[in-house]
């Protein structure tokens, strides 16, 4: 087990909406180590994006972190004042987002947007920042960086935009990179390039990456460890090999089963019946129970706890708990 | 462009920054900044400002018909004879005149030693030049209508001018008084259009500047031939909004305002710095009753209507108390006016007359006037009053152009659609206040005899009065005429305005004559 760079403990995030208070993230704990890519997987609405935004306290106005700690090398980000957290953002922890096209400011030149970072965090002057930005653009594999510097975002392709986003995120040498679905909006070939780039950066800069995605293929290819989220809770956590080889939670099983596999005859692609419940319409017991094929009576009444299994794995399911209890 | 945007953003940023960081002071600064720049330019000149309610249309004294342009040009131009405040005529650029016995030849003796502002002398030749310009049919100047009887002008000597008429015309001297004398040299120099903005006359003030639509500034004529104003410059400023005009007087931005809105007198009553001045007028306020229409063809109906109107209430409500009842068809300021027995406010009598005329339950009709608030007020008042004798009057305000179109497009009395027209008329002499309004030849589209009043006896008297040079005989003719018109009641006789002007208490020597003209020849101030 590597050194814990970023550690999240018992995070609870709520939203105040006109339908009342909704708990989007509940009792989530995990860590990201050095030179490690941790995957956070789940369907849309499972709370994974909210988790990532909570780390940097970038939640929209209605959002509110009501409990927990977010520790960066031991310092609690949630207790920092506004100025200190701003120094962390883009400095020690950088973030890239799902849709690179809309994540760049359309009316500012690309160069300006990259330079802004280093000017702020590294106190570079204009020419230093410019040089550094060109350097960064080169490093993310874009030819003629000088030209790209002067372009507006709409003049870039999606892949280029995501590279620029990465260049921007990496320009202040962060310790942790949070990547929220970085490849979702991109073509498959571009996806591969961007992932390649991230792996490379991880190696070179020795950073920890929290990779948020719903794409298990991406997880399998890139992550060291994986957490599966459902309805704001972590339902399973394991290293990537164990997870794919032996998924424990019925939800994880379902997710893995629904990934099409080359070579297998996929006349009928298995899928998980039903839908993610609305946050305001949460079932009482296990949140997955209504969709679970193995659900028992108990599952509808009592929510299972996250249980340690085999030392390195965790799972939130009555079945597993029972089995492990039996095993003991 | 980029820089502009950047600058703009900086401004907005700083505003939001200030507003964010310090929310007590948001507005208010602007005002004080602006006043700081308002330090008036130091000027040695003593200036007086007269705020008026309309724009000066033109400064060519021969081509204007409105009173205000007349007042403005009167500061720079003079005529051979002019009106005194009591509407009698006094010689100005003439020293006297003779008229031949047949009334066809007028000899004018021009004042010696008067020079125009450009230094050229005033003489008979100059006056002839002006009369000829006005009489020129090609030029079609507005004052030409006053010289229609003139056939020729002859220079007898340097300071004597002979004017020949085609027919005797009693009010000739009044018409001569309307012709201001322009420097012939300036007319040659600037031309007919150029003279509008380059006035050169003999008057107490010399032209300084005029922005059409805005103020006109004149400067005291150092070489004026008689005692002139005791100030340096005089400004005429059009301020159409009544409240604004008064505000100017209250703040001292204006030294004199005309007209003083009658409604507002109470508002300035307590102000020690302001004096309101009342004066009689030549303005008659009345309503034409179209006698060619069945309903108004009966004299009893017309008289009934006159009995049904409370003239005192009219003065109070419509003119805020600043009007006197009309006692003839001409106001008492007009020479030869004779007061007639009053149509007293008597609803019983009115109802009885209506019943006799066959309208015991009244009838429906409508009244027209321009759509300004004052006219609308008058129309409403008449409508309210006539409703008491069963006459239902629909109030139809019309935009002035539309109104004149609606009245004059009728080629014959039958075609006319006007029923009642609430209007006013102002003239300098009896003929001017009568002929166009009552002579049968002057029904629309020729002239505004909108009552379609066609009484042969009246026609005869109007014509006789116009050529009768003997004042006594003329007075007799006009006395008879007034009685006839009054009894025929082709109008609702409402009232004659009391002219209101107001001045700062420091202001001296500015007057308003009964025709509404502003006289500032003796202007002085102690401010």
């Amino acid at each position: 087990m590597s050194e814990k760079l970023l550690e999240v403990k018992n995070l609870r995030t709520e939203f105040h909406t006109d339908k009342g208070k909704l708990v989007a993230v509940n009792d989530v704990s995990f860590y990201v180590g050095k030179e490690e890519i941790v995957g956070l997987v789940g369907e849309s609405g499972s709370g994974k994006s909210v988790t990532s935004l909570s780390v940097l306290r970038l939640l929209p106005e209605q959002g509110n972190i009501s409990a927990g700690e977010v520790l960066l090398e031991g310092k609690d980000l949630l207790k920092m004042n506004k100025k200190d957290i701003r120094n962390i953002r883009g400095g020690d922890i950088a973030m890239i987002f799902q849709d690179p096209m809309s994540s760049l400011n359309p009316v500012l030149r690309v160069g300006e947007q990259i330079m802004e970072c280093t000017k702020l965090h590294l106190k570079y002057n204009n020419s230093q920042a410019r040089k550094h930005a060109i350097d960064m653009i080169k490093r993310v594999g874009i030819p003629v960086p000088e030209d790209v510097m002067n372009r507006y975002p709409h003049q870039l392709s999606g892949g280029m935009s995501q590279r620029i986003m990465i260049a921007m995120a990496m320009s202040c040498n962060p310790k942790v990179l949070i990547a929220d679905e970085p490849t979702t909006a991109l073509d498959v070939t571009i996806q591969a390039q961007v992932m390649e780039l991230m792996l490379e950066l991880k190696e070179k800069n020795k950073i920890g990456i929290l990779l948020i995605t719903h794409d298990l293929g991406v997880v399998a290819e890139m992550c060291n460890r994986v957490m599966v989220m459902y309805c704001g809770r972590i339902v399973e956590m394991a290293d990537v090999f164990s997870l794919f080889k032996n998924p424990l939670h019925p939800y994880t099983k379902g997710l893995i089963a629904s990934v099409p596999k080359i070579g297998k005859n996929a006349d009928v692609l298995p899928y998980i019946a039903g839908r993610v419940p609305d946050l305001s319409q949460m079932p009482k017991g296990c949140k997955f129970a209504p969709r679970c094929s193995e659900a028992m009576e108990k599952c509808y009444k009592e929510e299972p706890k996250l249980t340690n299994i085999d030392g390195n794995r965790q799972c939130r399911c009555h079945l597993i708990r029972e089995r492990s209890e039996i095993n003991e | 462009m980029k820089k502009l945007i950047a600058l703009f953003i900086v401004i907005v940023m700083s505003v939001t920054f200030v507003a964010c960081s310090n929310n007590t002071e948001e507005a208010g600064n602007k005002a004080t900044d602006e006043t700081a720049t308002n330090t008036p330019v130091e000027n040695e000149d003593v200036n007086m400002t007269i705020a008026v309610n309309a724009e000066i249309i033109s400064l060519d004294p021969h081509d204007i018909s409105d009173t205000l342009s007349g007042s403005a040009t009167s500061t720079m131009y003079e005529s051979l004879y002019d009106y005194k405040l009591d509407m009698s005529l006094e010689p100005v650029l003439a020293t006297g005149y003779d008229v031949s016995e047949d009334g066809l030849e007028y000899t004018f003796y021009i004042r010696e030693g008067v020079t125009f502002h450009d230094g050229t002398p005033l003489n008979a030749e100059a006056v002839k030049y002006n009369f000829d310009r006005v009489s020129n049919k090609e030029k079609n100047l507005k004052r030409r209508r006053n010289l229609l009887h003139v056939v020729s002008t002859e220079v007898i000597d340097e300071y004597t001018l002979l004017v020949k008429l085609d027919a005797p015309f009693a009010p000739m001297l009044n018409r001569i008084a309307s012709i201001k004398i322009i420097s012939p040299a300036a007319l040659e120099k600037y031309g007919d259009k150029g003279i509008i903005t380059n006035p050169v006359g003999t008057g107490p003030y010399v032209f300084e500047e005029w922005t059409p639509g805005d103020k006109m500034v004149v400067r005291t004529n150092e070489n004026y031939w008689r005692e002139g104003p005791k100030i340096d410059t005089l400004t005429f400023k059009p301020v159409t909004e009544n409240g604004a005009r008064i505000a100017m007087l209250q703040t001292g931005d204006a030294d004199f305002i005309y007209p003083m809105p009658t409604e507002q007198v109470k508002a300035v009553e307590g102000d020690k710095n302001i004096e309101v001045i009342e004066g009689p007028s030549t303005i008659a306020r009345f309503t034409f009753l179209n006698m060619s229409k069945e309903i108004f063809s009966d004299v009893r109906v017309r008289q009934a209507i006159n009995y049904a109107i409370d003239k005192k209430a009219y003065a109070k409500v419509v003119k805020s108390g600043y009007a006197v009842p009309l006692t003839s068809h001409v106001p008492s300021t007009i020479t030869y006016h004779v007061a007639q027995p009053e149509y007293e406010y008597n609803l019983e009598k009115a109802k009885k007359l209506m019943a006799e005329a066959g309208y015991p339950n009244g009838f429906k009709t409508h009244i027209w006037a321009p759509n300004d608030t004052e006219n609308m007020k008058g129309m409403q008042f008449i409508s309210q009053q006539l409703s008491k004798i069963g006459i239902e009057v629909e109030v139809v305000p019309m935009e002035e152009g539309t109104l004149s179109d609606s009245i004059y497009k009728a080629k014959t009395p039958e075609e006319s659609t006007v029923n009642m027209w609430y209007v006013s008329w102002s003239a300098f002499d009896f003929d001017g206040a009568t002929a166009k309004l009552f002579h049968s030849a002057n029904i629309p589209p020729t002239a505004p005899n909108v009552s379609y009043y066609m009484n042969p006896k009246a026609d005869e008297l109007i014509e006789a009065g116009a050529i009768e040079v003997d004042p006594e005989k003329r007075a007799k003719i006009y006395a008879e005429l007034q009685e006839i018109i009054w009894n025929d009641a082709p109008w609702i006789f409402l009232g004659s305005d009391v002219l209101l002007s107001a001045k700062r208490s420091t202001t001296e020597g500015i007057f308003v004559d009964p025709s509404g003209g502003i006289i500032a020849t003796q202007a002085a101030t102690s401010k």
């Binding site: 883009g90 507006y152 | 018909s65 409105d66 507005k142 400023k237 703040t251």
Partner: protein, 306 residues
């Protein structure tokens, strides 16, 4: 871009031709005989007839329109029927006050409007937002002339801070431009607010926050720049309001501007002046729209001119 501007400029020609026809029709559709109005009530019939002939009012409409267009093209716009002066001599002195009034109003209302809108947007849902937005709605709901009269009564007559009327000093423009700008400020504030609220939800705002930028920079650099792109359009549209409003404000404050001239000239049937002022109004309106479109392009790099 040059091509685009050129194309738009060329486009103005047919529009102006149509506009000129409409204006010509408008003038001749208004009832009222200018000759009679100009001559006055006491005029003789002969005088009116001569004037009508001189003004060409007896010619067929086609001939009148031809003369009107020929005059415009050859630079002879005719003389004012009312004063006898060449129309431009009547109009040019009237342009300055209107222009100053318009510039003052637009500048203060753009600055105030955007600032208010931004403040309101970043305090969305709070009391200050509520007050500001009801205030802005009030700004739109006030009848201009009423506001003008009330301001004049309070600040000029009662407090004596500003001259009541006229254009003798720049301070004369304070109350008129506040009056004229009030509605525009409110419009801009509302528009800026809603545009800012939308923009603050955008991903790139989250990005700029994730970069660690201060809220001030996020708002004023990243959000405002984008919102300006939208606001420019609204400012452009306000020019119409400005021109119409200037008619009322010039009336209340006795400012000898173009708007007042237009109304007076319509009332007086001073055709030559009416048609020239209307042509100026529509022309400047079209030009301003063009400038706004070009500005929009400058501010918004996404727009490419085709």
């Amino acid at each position: 871009m040059k091509q685009y501007v050129l194309k738009r400029l060329l486009n103005i020609i047919p529009i102006m031709i149509v506009v000129s026809i409409i204006i010509f029709m408008f003038i001749h559709l208004i009832p009222g005989d200018p000759a009679r109005i100009i001559a006055g009530q006491k005029a003789t019939l002969e005088e009116i007839e001569i004037m009508r002939e001189q003004l060409g009012l007896n010619d067929p409409y086609i001939v009148q329109y031809k003369n009107f267009m020929l005059g415009i093209l050859t630079g002879d716009w005719g003389n004012s029927l009312k004063t006898g002066l060449p129309v431009w001599e009547v109009i040019i002195p009237r342009m300055k006050p209107t222009l100053i009034l318009a510039i003052f109003s637009i500048v203060w209302s753009v600055i105030a409007g955007i600032s208010i809108g931004v403040i309101s947007a970043i305090n969305r849902g709070k009391l200050i937002d509520y007050i500001v937005m009801v205030g802005a709605s009030s700004g739109i709901s006030l009848p201009l002339f009423w506001l003008g009269l009330m301001l004049m009564q309070i600040f000029s007559v009662k407090l004596g801070w500003f001259p009541t009327t006229g254009i003798d000093s720049l301070s004369s423009y304070v109350l008129p431009s506040i009056t004229l700008g009030a509605g525009i400020t409110a419009m801009i504030a509302r528009y800026t607010r809603s545009s800012m609220i939308e923009i603050l939800k955008e991903n790139y705002i989250r990005t700029s926050r994730a970069k660690g930028l201060s809220e001030f920079i996020v708002i004023n650099k990243h959000a405002l720049r984008n919102s300006l792109v939208d606001v420019i359009t609204i400012v452009g549209l306000q020019f119409g309001f400005l021109l119409a409003g200037s008619v009322l404000v010039e009336t209340v404050f006795a400012i000898p501007g173009l708007g007042r001239l237009l109304i007076d000239s319509i009332l007086f049937r001073d055709y030559t002046v009416v048609q020239t002022v209307l042509l100026i109004f529509t022309f400047q309106f079209i030009i301003i729209n063009l400038i706004v479109d070009v500005l929009y392009g400058v501010a918004n790099p996404k727009i490419r001119y085709q």
